[in-house]
Structure formats: structure tokens, C-alpha cells
Symmetry: C2
Subunit: 336 residues, 2 copies
């Protein structure tokens, strides 16, 4: 039934050479041409494959990278994963993707799992993980690149977007079009990106001398349903906002659905700016104004930074890439 795995020993026997020579050939060493063809023939004939486990034991390298994300149910996360993977694969690395379902214990466990699997490096979007725990991994010689969020007190490479100014810019677009009461649907308080986006919202209000009405600030959970619920709350306020800014894709989706349900006309009833997902923005009518995060750049920057560390190049450690977002204003925003 189950075939026995072919090892170098078998190839050696088949060719009449020694295991050492086979190994050398496999790893690109010098071997007589005639032996090369002999070995090559044996390899295909026998169907030999290097046992990565054994190799890893010896080299302490697995040529695989761990990717640890809070969830797979979020387009931003899966987008990052995709782009990171593309670069890594090009460079001969494989990936182990983990999601910790936004659960603190799972986050810790999966991180340990990756360490146990001897990944050569880790890219993660951290949530509750402690500085100490991550530091412990780094101390083991496993480089980590943080994505999208920082971890307070940790010296670590990180790639993120300038969330504060992303939010600032979006809200500014509304302000310069005459809006003064601007509702915002933001992520959970504990999440770094949500904090930053809120700061941007507040700062731009200050810069334009507009008082912040905290009743216009709604904390969601980055899921569809909270976008749906919170938009309704905003719209139904006695003194409703004239514009609404929603700060991630899933909540934008929910908000749009709520607006449709309430037969609200965008932008005549209120202006609207959403987040991420260009594809959706084009589909919705009127075309959705959105903040576009450079997902490809984020993923690529993170992967390339890690690759650099893997080559033991520690220049500018810890380095922070703070990528810029773009605000795309379309028909969903109007002047008042």
C-alpha cells in the first residue's frame, strides 16, 4: 500500500556512488559529468525527493515563513497574505498560514506552533500578543516583521499604513466640501489601526476648528453587521451627520446595505466615504469614495524586509515602513 520513501541511500546504491556524493550533487557541488547524468537518471527513476525534515534538522533552516493573521474572514488580511506569498515564493520560500481567530490564547499558541515548525521567519498582524512573547521569538533568532499594527515597547520591523493621515485626508475631503457634522464608524478601541484612524478624525477637526461631537463616533468591530447597525444609528440621530466615513471594508459593506434598506440616497441624503476594496467601490451606485490601502505594497514591503533580515542584513533595524493611502473621491460625496 504505502510506498516507502526513497532516500539518498537508495540513490547511492542505485548509482554505485556514496551518499556524500549524492548530497553534493543535490546541493550543487562538483561532480563528474558522467556521474551527474547517472544520478539524475536515478533520481527520476526512483522518484527521489529530499526529505526536508531531515535537511531542516541538519541545517536549522526550513525555507519556510510563518504568516500569522487575526482572521481569514477579512479581505484586507487575505489580501496581505496573497501579496506576501507572491514575493516569498519567488524567493524560494514556502509559507505556513495561520489565523488565530482574533483569540489571544490562540495567537500565542499559533506563534509557538510556528516556532516549533522551525520557520525561518514570521510575518504577523498582532493583536493581543505581548511584547515579551514576541521578543522571545526574536531572541531565538527568528526575525519577525509586523504588519499593519505595532506592538508597544517592541523593537521590531514593521510595515503599516499612515492610518492617522489616511483618516485625516478622508475627513478633510468632507470638510472642504462644507460638511461639519461627520459621522465615523471606527474599529474596536483596542485595535491600533482604529486608534490611529480616530486620532486623524479628531486632529483634522481641530485643525479646522470644528468641535468634535463624540456622539458621531461609533465603535464597531470591523464586521459587516456592525457597519449595518451603526450606520442606522447615525442616520436616525435627531441631529444626523451630513457625511459618514466608514473605516474598513466589511463595515462599509454593512453600511451600504443599511443605506439601501433605508432607501437613503447617496449623496443627496448624506455623503459617504468607505474603505478598501476598489472592486466593490466601482460596483456600487453611485461610485463609492474610498480610502485605498496599498495592499500590494504592504505585502511586498513586509516580505522583502523579512527576506533582507533572513540574509542577516540588519541595516536600519528596527525599520518602519509607513505607507501612504490614497483617497479616491467619487460620486458618493457632494458639496453642501
Amino acid at each position: 500500500m504505502s510506498e516507502i520513501a526513497v532516500t539518498m541511500k537508495d540513490v547511492a546504491r542505485y548509482t554505485g556512488l556514496s551518499i556524500a556524493t549524492i548530497s553534493k550533487y543535490i546541493n550543487g557541488g562538483n561532480v563528474l559529468d558522467e556521474n551527474k547524468v547517472l544520478i539524475e537518471k536515478a533520481i527520476v527513476e526512483l522518484g527521489f525527493k529530499v526529505n526536508e525534515i531531515a535537511r531542516g534538522l541538519k541545517t536549522n533552516k526550513t525555507k519556510t515563513i510563518g504568516i500569522l493573521m487575526p482572521t481569514l474572514e477579512n479581505m484586507f488580511c487575505t489580501g496581505i497574505i496573497s501579496n506576501v506569498e507572491n514575493i516569498l515564493i519567488q524567493n524560494g520560500y514556502s509559507t505556513i498560514i495561520c489565523d488565530y481567530k482574533e483569540d489571544a490564547k490562540l495567537e500565542k499558541d499559533k506563534l509557538d506552533f510556528l516556532v516549533n515548525k522551525m520557520v525561518d521567519g514570521i510575518i504577523t498582524m498582532p493583536h493581543c500578543i505581548s511584547q515579551e512573547h514576541l521578543q522571545g521569538v526574536i531572541n531565538k533568532g527568528i526575525p519577525i516583521v509586523l504588519v499593519d499594527r505595532i506592538v508597544k515597547g517592541l523593537e521590531c520591523d514593521v510595515v503599516l499604513v499612515d492610518n492617522l493621515n489616511a483618516s485625516y485626508d478622508a475627513v478633510e475631503q468632507l470638510i472642504t466640501r462644507g460638511h461639519r457634522r461627520i459621522g465615523i464608524i471606527i474599529g474596536p478601541e483596542a485595535v491600533y489601526t482604529a486608534e490611529e484612524r480616530l486620532k486623524g478624525y479628531i486632529r483634522v477637526h481641530e485643525d479646522y476648528n470644528i468641535e468634535v461631537d463624540t456622539s458621531l463616533i461609533k465603535n464597531g468591530d470591523y464586521q459587516i453587521e456592525s457597519g449595518y447597525t451603526l450606520l442606522k444609528e447615525l442616520v436616525r440621530m435627531k441631529d444626523a451627520p451630513t457625511a459618514i466615513f466608514v473605516t474598513n471594508y466589511e463595515m462599509t459593506l454593512g453600511a451600504i446595505m443599511a443605506a439601501n434598506e433605508l432607501n437613503i440616497n447617496i449623496p443627496s441624503d448624506f455623503s459617504f466615504i468607505g474603505f478598501d476594496n476598489l472592486q466593490m467601490a466601482k460596483i456600487v451606485k453611485p461610485p463609492l469614495s474610498i480610502v485605498i490601502q496599498p495592499m500590494q505594497q504592504i505585502g511586498e514591503a513586509a516580505a522583502n524586509l523579512l527576506l533582507k533580515r533572513l540574509k542577516m542584513d540588519m541595516a536600519n533595524f528596527p525599520s518602519m515602513f509607513r505607507l501612504k493611502t490614497e483617497v479616491s473621491i467619487k460620486g458618493s460625496v457632494r458639496e453642501i
Copy 2:
């Protein structure tokens, strides 16, 4: 900088015992109580962790399962992953999640990657992979459970839903409410689930003696945009359907957006049945009728079946679980 990993050897030295004894303790063998505490102390003190790579080399078991999916950008796929993982983790297994981006070569490569990583078993939603390739893996003694789709000619455990009758039932609901011209937005021709769902559509037409108008059958690609585009096509037909059935979540999303954009009223302009995602169905107004796939059951059944095979229990091999879907009819469907 990078701490050197602590091994059993270190624990042995620290405790004055032999490596063999440490190993025995780790693996639950009999050790003197006093030595137990001694070892335990050493382990925490030194921060020892079993090197899974080395262990795997010896035992030929990695206690990890590969999950290979076509994409992470699809709620059905990530839902399955989540549920599979839950069961596996409970049983002491870890997972390596791979997505092959619906790419034939990548599908093959990632499968090989998992094999190289010596996973103990694999759960996959296959796409282009050949029967031979999968058979090769199985022959290596690595059990595979297919999810959602079969592979022609391959004897393999599989867990899927009764797609044919899912589609049959949904369309039947429309027929019994008087609809005769029913549009369907289906997946790519090459995909098993799409084939089956189309068969159901056709069979129910036959059973009710309704002629199938092939212009009402639109092939999409299971992405948002095709749902959006194809719904428009259907609605704009000279002889437009009175009801539309969309056969996955992403396309349902796109279709809803198109309907909103066209100011189409559901169900007075036409009736609508979508797919998956209960959460969204509740949010949309009117409440969406949908076909509900038992994602949790699918994931759990697949995981449990694999677990069974891992225990060398080959009873009823190959077995096929064909789970039933549920049609939930809400306000988006009306009688005519």
C-alpha cells in the same frame, strides 16, 4: 543575540539523568516521582521545547494536517477552514493552510510542499489536480479527504453537499410559486459544484415540464463582479426572467448591488434566491432567501473522517458524505 535552542541533552545534563529518561518523561513513560519534579523544573528553568523536526524525523509523524484550498478570498472556503481547524486542534493536530490561487501549477506545487512537510494527512478542495497526482500522495500513505468536489476516477474520501438537489430545491420553490422563467447565475463550467447545480436546475425544469431557456443560464466565475454583471444582463433581457437564482455568496453580493443600482425592487420586480452567508441575508432588505450550506458540518465531517483514517481505520473506504443544504425562503421571493 540569538539564544541557542535547548535540547534534551541540556535537560539531561541539568538533571544528571540520561537523555533516554528525559525522552521517556516527555512521552509519558514511567519515571520516579522525584525525577519527574526534577525534570519538570529543568524544563521550565531552561525553557526546553521538543524539537518537532527531529521528532518527526524519527516518528514519521508531524501531528500536522495540510489544508489546501483554491483561494482565501471566498467565504465558503475560509468557513470550511475554520471549522476543520477547530476539530483538528481539539485532537492535538496543527494545520498548515495553503491556498493555490485557483492556479493549476500552484495547486500541484503546494500539494508537494505539504507532502514534503510530512503532513500526516491532507484536506483539500481540488480544482485542476489530476487523479494521478493525488493518488501518488495517497500511495505514500498520506490520507486525503476531498471537500466540496470530487475528482473523477479517484478513490478517495469526500465530503460535499448535495449540490444537485440544493439547486433543485431552490428552483422548485420558485416554480411552485408560479415562476416559469427563472434565471440562474452559475459558477465556471469546469467546476464540479457548478456542474451539479446546473444539473439540478435542469432536472427540476424537466420534472415540472418546463422548457429550459439556455439564455437564462449565465456562467460567472464565483466573484463579486460577475454576479454584478450577469444580473444586469438577465434583467435587461427582452424577455427577462421573473426570478433569479445566484449560486454562491460572492456573486450574490454583486447581484444585490446591481439590483440596488438599477433601483430594482425585490421581490416585486423579480424574486431572488442567493447562496450562503446567513449574516448578509438578514441584513439585506427584504430579507434574502438563500441556500444555506452546512459549513460547520462539512468542516467537521471532513476533519473527523481524516482523523479516523489517521487512526488506520479504513472502514467504508472510500466514503462519501453528501450533506443536505437548506433553502430558507424569505421576503425576497413572492408568488406570481
